[in-house]
Symmetry: C2
Subunit: 152 residues, 2 copies
DNA sequence: TATTGTTATACTCTATAACTATA
DNA sequence: TATAGTTATAGAGTATAACAATA
């Protein structure tokens, strides 16, 4: 569980070590995302939304699937994003029930800046690590998504 | 930025690869935490709180520091945790201004279960990875916290 | 009938501002 | 004066339940 590095959690062996490392790493990354988002007065969820919409124009239901949120939550999320001029709702030409969500031009520009800032923040985080360990991280994430599928 | 594995983000080189890997990994871990928490009708924040209080009895201000939250946010957090019988507030013997927060016996039991369930969830996530890559992850997290300091 | 999306409602989380009590 | 904590208030994020429109 999320705690201090010193905490040994449960049994013996090295498993708790890896688990702790993962959890701590995850919170450190979330902290970077939170900070970058808040500089632009965005939430992490809106940041994620921008990331998802950069190369797609999904339906409300598809967004709910990717984010693992209820459709009603997505309605509110898109409402707020639309109110801020980040996205537009469009009807689908093939199915009158579905609503497609699209990034505005301004949001595309913003998203590119955010990508840059997140990269800088995470680079700083990784700087003290060796090249080999960073490569291992990439492999680890890759196998992880082969098994689980992309999350967001 | 949080997006799909396929997204190449910005320039050339391998930096965006590592950044994407980190972000995706982070969201995958958060998803596991969210699921474990929700099984017990807890939020991720309450889960974190339990993790922090397992081996400490910090002041409200210390909790705010670790969680990087405003003190007023912590007041509400502890209010809700106390209402659910997870924590107790105690006065400090040395400074009448400070309030110490302590886990209840029931919450200690619960916290142990949560640790176990998070471990299982993350083990499943890591299972397809090689032993060497997992070791690299542990090293990476360790150097990361040597530089940044423990976050939670 | 099943699916898409919305609305109403309620709760958690978070911050800012203003306050009290203690140091 | 400075620090610890609380309260009031406001807004984001989330879920459940009930609903309308379309397939």
């Amino acid at each position: 569980m999320p705690s201090e590095p010193s905490e040994t959690t449960s049994g013996v062996g090295e498993t708790p070590l890896v688990v702790d490392a993962l959890v701590q790493l995850s919170f450190a990354v979330q902290l970077v995302l939170t900070r970058v988002a808040s500089v632009h007065d965005l939430s992490v969820t809106q940041l994620r939304l921008l990331g998802i919409l950069r190369d797609r124009t999904p339906s409300m239901a598809a967004i709910a699937d990717v984010l693992e949120l209820d459709r009603s939550s997505v309605s509110g999320l898109i409402d707020r994003a639309e109110r801020r001029g980040l996205v537009v709702r469009r009807g689908s030409p093939t199915d009158a029930r579905v609503t497609l969500v699209e990034l505005t031009a301004a949001a595309h520009t913003l998203a590119a800046e955010l990508v840059e800032e997140v990269s800088l923040g995470l680079d700083a985080l990784l700087r003290p690590s060796s090249e080999a360990d960073r490569a291992a991280l990439v492999r680890l994430a890759a196998t992880l998504f082969a098994a689980v599928g992309p999350g967001a």
